[in-house]
């Protein structure tokens, strides 16, 4: 069966510090991978998606970047965090055989202080 891991679960970082969030998927090959951000009590904002290794599409210009160094690994990074980067970061995967339904990881709650 497929599983998705995200870490860390919670993170408190000062403004101006770097960020690295990691997501890995098990049990499937060549998944589409996604990074979303959710502000408190709000909807899901798609940040990045990837259809293959090294292929990254950015949806919203901002202080973040993404990389996909391996087939089932997706990394979200920032060189210098802003207060507005606080939120709930969710990684998700989808594959064609499951009709592109998206399956989400447990998320990382980031607070920038």
């Amino acid at each position: 069966s497929q599983t998705i891991h995200q870490w860390p679960a919670t993170l408190v970082q000062p403004v101006g510090s770097p960020l690295s969030l990691e997501c890995t998927v098990e049990g499937t090959s060549n998944p589409n991978l996604y990074w979303y951000r959710q502000a408190a009590g709000r909807g899901l904002q798609l940040l990045f998606y990837s259809v293959g290794i090294g292929q990254i599409s950015s949806e919203v210009p901002q202080n973040l970047s993404a990389s996909r160094p391996q087939d089932r690994q997706f990394i979200l990074s920032s060189k210098k965090l802003l207060l507005s980067d606080s939120g709930f970061y969710l990684c998700a995967w989808s594959v064609r055989q499951f009709s592109y339904e998206q399956y989400f990881g447990p998320g990382t709650r980031l607070t920038v202080t």
Binding site: N32, G41, R42, G43, L44, L46, Y49, V51, L90, S94, R96, S99, Y100, E101, Q102, Y103, F104, G105, P106, G107
Partner: protein, 112 residues
């Protein structure tokens, strides 16, 4: 740009009452998906509808896709406290199969 709207934004019901959330897209959708997010949790896929006018049921939940494939609804019969959470609809962006645009969500609270 393409938009997916949900109403109501928030609903508070007495346990045992019914609940409905509506989803409206600015464009025709090839399919519509529904997700549930429990408080403090992550979104969980519930169902996908593909055909015009399609109706699917999951126990007390009934999902419907409009004839024009631009709207959808989720109806919960006799709500229970376990139904608490935010319900999101989502549809493919443009001609993409794998990129979704999510609605703003309907938050359901159930009074025991």
């Amino acid at each position: 740009g393409q938009q997916v709207m949900q109403i109501p934004q928030y609903q508070h019901v007495q346990e045992g009452e019914d609940f409905t959330t509506y989803c409206n897209s600015s464009t025709t959708l090839s399919n519509i998906q529904w997700y549930k997010q429990r408080p403090g949790g992550h979104p969980v896929f519930l169902i996908q509808l593909v055909k015009s006018g399609e109706v699917k049921k999951q126990k007390r939940l009934t999902f419907q896709f409009g004839e024009a494939k631009k709207n959808s609804s989720l109806h919960i019969t006799a709500t229970q406290t376990t139904d608490v959470g935010t319900y999101f609809c989502a549809g493919p962006v443009g001609g993409s199969s794998y990129k979704l645009i999510f609605g703003s969500g309907t938050r359901l609270l159930v009074r025991p």
